[in-house]
């Protein structure tokens, strides 16, 4: 939902970043206001996932220029855990497995950490169990997932649901979902998209990184951005995604060049 006067949640200006000495982001600019849903599309290697990792502070990536404000505050001085506490959430394309750590225990630790950072009450294991089971219904998840090790042996779709479950628990200001639709069958896609739609509201914002228009049939974006060569080449409304689906990406670069 686009509202002209809504507060700016994310302000990225001329952002450049590199990994292993190679510059991947070459002048990103993006403004996201509360209540908006953005989709970032673009060919492989255009820098979409790098952008997500740079924002959340992955240690392999180095910012070389530019600024990024989350809720008006610069984030690059903060370690990744403090960015998360400040309201940034990254939904991973490939969530890592953590053998031996029960999902329930992990979810409660992250929930209580974020609650604590906001000066809110933490939940004991019993209270949390009730709370998380309620949230799991939203994603049609079996409570058995609470007892399993974090992501261990989860199917691709189960991992992605577990990501959105964490988004539901942590209620971030800005959720950056990196290819959340990849590896999902059509039912899982519907469930995950339904979850995101339920969680999106006037006070937060969602960024979807995706290759496919398919996801955008379920989550209607306010803006669609096309990324290539480490920057945003073109921004449009939801119809741009349909156009990309039928025409591919090449015409965008050609149009910008001419």
């Amino acid at each position: 939902m686009i509202r002209a006067g809504a507060p700016v949640l994310l302000e990225v200006r001329d952002l450049r970043a590199k990994v292993s000495g190679i510059e991947i982001l070459k002048g990103m600019n993006l403004t996201i206001r509360a209540g908006e849903i953005h989709a970032i599309m673009g060919p492989n290697g255009s820098g979409k996932s790098t952008f997500a990792k740079v924002l959340s502070g992955h240690p392999d990536y180095t910012v070389t220029a530019g600024t990024t404000l989350l809720d008006g505050k610069s984030i690059f001085e903060l370690p990744p855990e403090e960015r998360a506490r400040a309201g940034l959430f990254l939904g991973f394309q490939y969530p890592v497995e953590i053998p031996g750590v029960a999902n329930a225990q992990f979810l409660r630790l992250t929930y209580n950490t974020i609650q604590g950072a906001h000066g809110k009450d933490e939940l004991d294991p019993l209270e949390f169990d009730d709370f998380v089971r309620e949230k799991m219904k939203l994603l049609e998840m079996d409570p058995a997932f609470l007892d399993r090790s974090v992501n261990e042996g989860f199917s691709g779709g189960e991992k992605k649901r577990n990501e959105i479950l964490q988004m539901a628990l942590l209620e971030p200001k800005l959720a950056f979902l990196d290819e959340t639709d990849s590896g999902l069958d059509i039912d899982a896609l519907r469930i995950v998209a339904g979850g995101v739609n339920t969680l999106a509201n006037a006070n937060n914002a969602v960024v979807l990184v995706t290759h496919y228009q398919r996801l955008l049939n379920y989550i209607i974006p306010d803006y669609v951005h096309v990324m290539e060569g480490g920057r945003i080449l073109k921004t449009g409304g939801k119809d741009l995604a349909l156009e990309l689906e039928s025409r591919g990406y090449d015409w965008v670069a050609a149009a910008v060049a001419s």
């Binding site: 502070g57 990744p80 855990e81 998360a84 991973f92 890592v96 953590i98 031996g100 750590v101 225990q105």
Partner: protein
Amino acid sequence: MSSALQNLIDQPYKHGFHTDIASDVVAKGLSEAVIRTISAKKGEPEWLLAFRLEAYRHWLTMTEPAWPNVHYPKIDFQDISYYSAPKTKKKLASMNEVDPELLRTFEKLGVPMHEQKALAGVAVDVIFDSVSVTTTYKHKLAEVGVIFCSFSEAVKEHPDLVRKYLGTVVPTTDNFYAALNSAVFTDGSFCYIPKGVRCPMELSTYFRINTQESGQFERTLIIAEDSSHVSYLEGCTAPQFDTNQLHAAVVELVALDNAEIKYSTVQNWYAGDANGVGGIYNFVTKRGLCRGVNSKISWTQVETGSAITWKYPSCILQGDNSTGEFYSVALTNHKQQADTGTKMIHLGRNTRSRIVSKGISAGHSSNSYRGLVQVGPRAEGARNYSQCDSMLIGDRSAAHTFPYIRAQNSSAKIEHEATTSKIGEDQLFYFASRGIDAEQAVSMIINGFVKDVFTQLPMEFAVEASKLLGLKLEGSVG
């Protein structure tokens, strides 16, 4: 490896202080004369001196084992002092007579020596260098017939029991270090649980090496008579020196019909510094004999210290339907080396054994599991289950597994499972992206990893062990 992860595993050793206390130290070197001196100092009977000399003579014919996956310069056994004792005027009648400097040392280590301050329900025998300093709750235990005292005292007060069982589980000729220990051991703990008695409290021995140039050679003997039950705990620390000290202990357990012995260790000897200078060489022989039917011996160890650990707490399952268990967490960091595991020797019918080993390797360390499961021809229906998991922290540490299985009875069922995992940057970043810092993340991963072993520890010890792993792996994150 990131600096955050590095800082996390570079925690200083908190027990590295040295107590300045007058000691009675025998000059360095080993000979029959030295053994006679030790035996005389302790006022031992002739049979014990003969036991020592027989062991010494055999030791002279033996060579150090070369098969463990550990590397260190050759030890000069003539450059070690084999006896060191804090000087005391006379035998202590009560805690009030213990040297206040010693009391302060153990208070600093968190070991309760005053009964009124002690953990409820834990009796403690305190070994400082070569001798036992004190044993708490001795009288209370005596009321139910449990004998818990220093080894030296047992030799004097209960010579028949000691003579009957000493060397029956670990013979003097067993191996190089067991032979050395049998020749020169100075003190240790002795427990005897009479028939049908369930020991009313946890028994615990706390070992402290203090002197720089002495070795520690203690001897522990635990006997559980028919249908008795005992839980025994052992803790160890040492000061920080830039030389290596040798610790070669022998522990023997005997469980008779329907008896159960649970033996738990939290080992935190000084491990040497980050460059591998100093630290204890921990070459220990621990073995339990399930002599009676339906008997059970369960070893639980949390090994975090020592420059080198060479240790295989084992069970000989002689009685029919007897059970042996081995639960182990071994953590190595910096340049530490550990080669540890167990032997389960199935001799009786329907004997059962269970092995759960969790190795954690950080820094430049090397951590090996070595285990033997042997089923003898008579051991009809023997069963074993082994699980060996390794965890690597960072990318410069090593984990090895050497399982040996020898089955001579076709009805044996032996299962072995093994996994290797790694705490990687990606896991830490995943936690971080959820607001959780590296310290908490590592702690959660490690605690999850060792859970199956820690649940076997008595409550007080589980808390201590958890804190110890924390100290070893947590800290300021850069």
